[in-house]
Amino acid sequence: MRNGKFSYLCTVMNERRPTRTWLPTLLILLAGMLLFVLNLIVGSVSVPLSEFWAVVTGGGDETYRTIILEYRLPQAITALFAGIGLSISGLLMQTLFRNPLADPSILGISSGASLGVAIVVLLTGKLSGMAVSAMPGWSTVGVTIAAFAGAFLVLLLILALSSRLKSMVSLILVGIMIAYIAGSVTDVLKFFSQKEDVHTFVIWGFGSFSNVGKSQLGYLAATISLGVILSFLLSKSLNLLLLGDRYAENLGLNLRRASLLTILVSGFLMAVITAFCGPIAFIGLAVPHLARFTYHTSNHFVLTPATAVIGMDLALLCNLIARLPGFDGNLPINSVTALIGAPIVIYVIFHRQKVLSK
């Protein structure tokens, strides 16, 4: 005991923690800013730093202005918000199911979005007899609405079923089955569709941060911010869920309500992002683990903001890699997220095994 009644606790809680929290936070935020700027200047056309600065201060060459402000800025902002939303959505799923390999796609929500897009892209093409992509009215807005409708229908279905299912494992299995059903209907639609339409659909499935126009950016930012705020407000419930259902309930948690809210918020984030960017894998799965390892905590009051900022960094990094000069245009974002995310997940599995067998 040094001084005071609970000096030992103070030492542990107040003195040791900040260094563990503030240094990584600072580095993550600095990396985020750097990645954001790199996202604006690196690409098939490289923007010199002096020109970049001129554009930022309101002047600069007209071509560079267009490239940066019309194309790269919306793309970087989309990547930033999608990264935050996907990661938070994954964190909620991993905590709710107490499964380190849960991710937002586990409940079939992204498959629902795919089905929605498939119906719009493939079926309308089939019915009207011409490829949708060739139609003058074709727009990303239609796809966005279709994806959101599909994802939200699956989300409602899951919510309705979750109140009838007793265990979370059953819910996962039902989610996987819903994904299979949506997938097989999608396949049937693909089978009967024209080549050009299938191509359009496959391209959508690759995922992209470049489909969100300037006018839609506000919706994306607002809805994801709302989801992030709600998930932060769920932190207390999530911390309790980590202890196991029976302890959580004994500590005053209304299990059913907490589970429903968690599924609703996570599903909502997933639905919004899939609608705007297509199904993007691995970010939601890998980032919560990076946050846990970096901050060495499971406390959601720390973990939720940490997951958000790391998710932002990782999405910006993936977008940057997909757009590196030499790749000539955009690589599918999903191939980049998988290349980076899958090794992280493999590491997590081995680490888990090591710690638990000690």
Partner: protein, 241 residues
């Protein structure tokens, strides 16, 4: 002694089939009661009924004067705490996180802890003797240490009643004895009412202060090990060769 729990003609079981005759029993402040019985005799069913997770098929449970199901979840969380055989398995949960969760029913939406909460956590950790573990990862502890952390959580929850499900299971013999003594001490010095189930009959006959013995179809038997010494073996159908 203040009465904290009473059962009035309580019939427990599933689908209308009572496991045993109606139970009329009470738990008082400062009392540690061991619940003994073979697997399938109704220990878990009794626990679930007392905590309000299972409806009685007859009679009543009165937890501090009201049936457990009539409390809101948060009110219930302030009446009894649980120590279970299953333990949290998240790799990044520290001892502090788990013990501090005991204050959650007493905290707001942001779960902010105040000085009183910290000093309470500190005090309860000292009572149980696990203060040095505060910053350790929970998964890295031994079974005995984990058990103590969960008991610290229950103390910090600050409830009159603590239910423990087989707290001595998976422990080596010295740890079992230590835990029995701890349970007794918490009842007497912290004025807790503790109901715990156990299979360690010999240990209980030596160290338990009061026992409830259950067997399928028979009325609940209660008393000190000394009082029960003669009848317990025939009651539990233990035949010595």
């Amino acid at each position: 002694m203040k009465e904290v729990l009473r059962t009035l003609g309580l019939e427990i079981g599933y689908k209308g089939n009572a496991l045993m005759p109606p139970i009329d029993a009470a738990l008082h402040e400062g009392e540690a009661v061991a619940l003994v019985g073979a697997n399938g005799s109704g220990k878990t069913t009794l626990f679930k009924t007392l905590t309000g997770n299972l409806k009685p098929i007859g009679g009543n449970v009165e937890l501090c004067g009201k049936p457990p199901a009539e409390y809101t979840p948060n009110e219930r969380a302030k009446r009894f705490s649980l120590v279970l055989t299953e333990k949290p398995d998240d790799l990044f949960l520290r001892v502090f996180d788990i013990v501090a969760a005991g204050r959650y029913p007493h905290s707001g939406l942001m779960a902010k802890l105040h000085d009183e909460d910290y000093s309470m956590i500190q005090a309860k950790l000292q009572i149980i003797g696990i203060e040095p573990l505060i910053d350790r990862d929970f998964v890295s502890l031994s079974d005995g240490e984990k058990q103590k952390v969960m008991i610290a959580k229950a103390l910090v929850q600050d409830t009159p009643i603590i239910y423990m499900d087989e707290p001595t299971a998976f422990l080596d013999y010295p740890s079992k004895v230590e835990l029995m003594l701890l349970i007794d001490r918490l009842a007497k010095e912290e004025h807790k009412t503790i109901l715990y189930s156990s299979h360690d009959l010999e240990l209980l006959m030596k160290h338990a202060s009061t026992m409830w013995v259950v067997a399928k179809g028979k009325p609940l038997l209660s008393g000190t090990p000394k009082e029960l010494d003669q009848e317990i073996e025939s009651y539990l159908n233990i035949h010595k060769p």
